[in-house]
Amino acid sequence: MGKVQEITVWASGVVQDKEARDVAQCLAAAAAKEGKFVQGFDNYVDLPDRVNVPVRKYARISDSEIEEKYLYENYNPEIVILVEPTLVKGINVLRGMKGGGCLIVNTGRSPEEILKFIPDKKPLKKVACVDAMGICPKAVIDFSGSEGAADAAGVGIGIGAVLAGAAAKVSGCVNIDSLMAVVTNAEAARRAFEEVVIKQL
């Protein structure tokens, strides 16, 4: 089995559940457009989500077929995206990150302020911040895509598109063109791609 790039998205339950799902689904769909083998799914035990209780969404990207499809979590994430910035303080969101990873945070604060709350910075190569609400002031609450059902509100219409665009720039996991082709609000993704603030460590 070839190398699998693991992406984990953290968010607050209910209020950001759809946006977090959109980030993972958009990145997976964009990579699929580039001919990669992908998975994009929700963490099973975090659902049904409760208001402001952290939830996780996962995407996996690989050049070869993903053989162990049924693992419940991304145990070694390379890319961690925080839709809710406060989670960087209360939870070790970088758990399992091996080295050379990147962290993308939805916040107007600077990468230095975020780094204050990470005691072990060794696994990180880059920290990036993007004020998603500033680019697209829509954090949509919608349950239609939850629990294996089909999203009816549109994938990538709010801050999810912004964070996917930022993640594409910081990590290079997908091209911005593939991402813009799969995201509803392509403009928001493109702006994030250009405006995300990256700090190299």
């Binding site: 809710e84 406060t86 939870i91 758990r95």
Partner: protein, 112 residues
């Protein structure tokens, strides 16, 4: 007669039928320390506080502690629901972004 017993190593054993003593006095579930979920921290203004105990009564978590001369929030468990700020009759409680504070009352190694 055949021996059908499954040999379960000691470290994998669980209490039978998953039955545990509950509640356990003076104990803590390390997986259930909820302060790490908090996004907005309640800050009580000591000048305004009248020690009326309304916040203590309404806190759904029992995360407000009262002593002789102060009302204090238990930051280890407070989930930041904001009910205390909502019910305080004198407006002594503000909800401030957790990231504004440098101190880290709770940092979970993993979620559950």
């Amino acid at each position: 007669m055949r021996d059908y017993t499954v040999k379960i190593p000691k470290e994998k054993l669980l209490p039978e039928a998953g039955i545990v003593k509950s509640p356990l006095p003076n104990s803590e579930q390390p997986d259930m320390i909820t302060g790490g979920w908090r996004i907005l921290r309640p800050v009580i203004d000591k000048e305004k506080c009248t020690m009326c105990k309304t916040c203590w009564i309404f806190c759904p978590d029992g995360s407000i502690e009262i002593t002789e001369n102060e009302v204090r929030v238990n930051l280890k468990y407070c989930k930041g629901c904001g009910i205390c700020a909502n019910v305080c009759p004198v407006g002594a409680i503000d909800r401030v972004p957790e990231l504004d504070f440098d101190d880290v009352p709770v940092r979970l190694e993993k979620l559950f």
